[in-house]
Symmetry: C2
Subunit: 377 residues, 2 copies
Amino acid sequence: MRTNRRNFIKSSISTLALAGIPVRFNLISKEHKINFLNDKMKLTYKKYDLRLKHTFTIARSSRDFVPIVLTELNHDGIIGYGESSPNVRYHEDSESVISFFNKLNLSKFNDPFDYVAIFDYVDNLTNGDASAKAAIDIAIYDWLGKKMNVPLYKLWGLDKNKTPYTSFTIGIDKPDIVRKKVEEAEEYKILKIKVGTDSDKEMIDTIRKVTNKPIRVDANEGWKQKEVALERIKWLKDEGVEFIEQPMPASQIDDVKWLRDKIDFPIIADEALTKLEDIPTLASAYDGINIKLQKCNGIHVALKMITLARALNMKIMMGCMIESNVGISAAAHLSPMIDYADLDGNVLINNDPFNGTKIIDGKLVLNDNPGLGVTPI
Amino acid sequence: MRTNRRNFIKSSISTLALAGIPVRFNLISKEHKINFLNDKMKLTYKKYDLRLKHTFTIARSSRDFVPIVLTELNHDGIIGYGESSPNVRYHEDSESVISFFNKLNLSKFNDPFDYVAIFDYVDNLTNGDASAKAAIDIAIYDWLGKKMNVPLYKLWGLDKNKTPYTSFTIGIDKPDIVRKKVEEAEEYKILKIKVGTDSDKEMIDTIRKVTNKPIRVDANEGWKQKEVALERIKWLKDEGVEFIEQPMPASQIDDVKWLRDKIDFPIIADEALTKLEDIPTLASAYDGINIKLQKCNGIHVALKMITLARALNMKIMMGCMIESNVGISAAAHLSPMIDYADLDGNVLINNDPFNGTKIIDGKLVLNDNPGLGVTPI
């Protein structure tokens, strides 16, 4: 079944359209809805389930698979690929993504080059739906790069040799499983650990028994009391942890400011960053921001966030959801601009429907194909 | 003489290079120095004097002609045009621009697509020299647009119908000359007046006798006392003035904050804006910023300034020096993103060496040629 769906993507949609043959409605299965924008520009989308190699546990929940929605923007004989990886925290699931797509009426736009106006329309159509908006954004950028015949990193003037090493996330688990995961992560130079649960000490101790690699931690708002957060951060610093994401709830910015005054240890905003305009306020309490394309409406907002954070002397991290190579490649093309990459979202799955950006010895490796540089498997 | 120099630009340099024939040193006159970057990418430059239609007076000085330096970036059979219009206020003149060019060693860069690293190198080579840096920046963007076969406005996703109307500057002069200038400016919908001298009242009165067009004023730091500034601004508001630029010295930001608390009238930072990092501080005292490519190192910084100012809810104006169509077109391609345009710098001259962006009934009109869309006359 899975193989069939993957072959279906490749044979019935992508190959035909890449060959310049218009995609007809009668070639599309019931699973693959079409949203006609106008005669020339089409957006299609398809649900897909990413299968996790390991059950994934964070402070809030556990899961075995992740439903995503893949998009294709078809215009002028060129297909741009996009992806939505919806997040329950933001009241999103694949149905809400599809519901958002069905609200779109892009018929007033004739060309993906109208992208500023398109993003403005898409962003303002609803509150929320960030991952659905990102799926439009990513498909448009892929299309633009292909149309102008440049890989996105080159469009943005970046040096592809300057992509960072990505951290690799070790999920919360029993010590023997954790040890096994750390061994499996041998090629990664940096580990990331979810903290903020009762198992923090056991996790860090287990990992430190088998490796001295740099560790980055994400507390996912786990500590509600600033004194508790301070005590845990002091301990993490002593354990060779490099920085911490979101130690306390997003709403408790004054407590984070208090923390920063008490300890010299980088604190990165994750859940606290919901939109561009948050950044000047966050600069008073956090040392950096974690930008996730699926949370911020996509590349067009990420580019602005990077500019704003840099001007405010903040560090920039890019993170991800569990995503296919489409979403990871979108972030990877931006990554020569950032300080910290946490872009292992497609390493954690075993049925990626796309090839594209690779991770070699822990480093993101872009190819020189135009746009995102991704191809359906 | 003037015609000869203009023909020279067209015949001996640009045409040959556009035809893919390498520009040889022995074809270049002594006036046209060459700065070899490497075998494939060349930067050439040439001094040129823009002749003003009218003697131009602002709070600080008067002048009849403006020396600029034109640049050409030649790579891969494509020429990108750039321009430096040096400003005495920032200790620049054409010799300092050329001196900056001679300091450049771009041999480590192989391609204009390395533009982020090139701008980083150029920007950090010296303090100041903004207009020389802008001449490199503009030539690179023109080249990039031509290489990717898109006009710059389209590269940036903008709608060329959304270019603003530009104001037209009426220089300080005697009433009969001012009346004549206002008549000559019939096609412009908005007038701009330099204030901050003893002739303010006479200027505004003279203009208001012949037209009710919106007026914008620039005080060029003319008032040193906040109480004086407040009194003059109240009077200007009553006279139908739309906003004021830089009423007080750039250093007196607290006085400007005091002004803003006292009167509901937009105050735009001009001289107070010297670099991107100024903007968060300026947001506490000013309602907007005036971005000039020749002051801010060029398009790459202007794009960041626009992002930053928008995120801080500020208005955006773009201004210019006395410039040829090269510099004006660079700003005009950005202009669909801005609120107020003051881009009449090449209307005030009678020997523009380039065709490109037009002003029709006071509105900036972009063409659809790739890059800046400028061609040597």
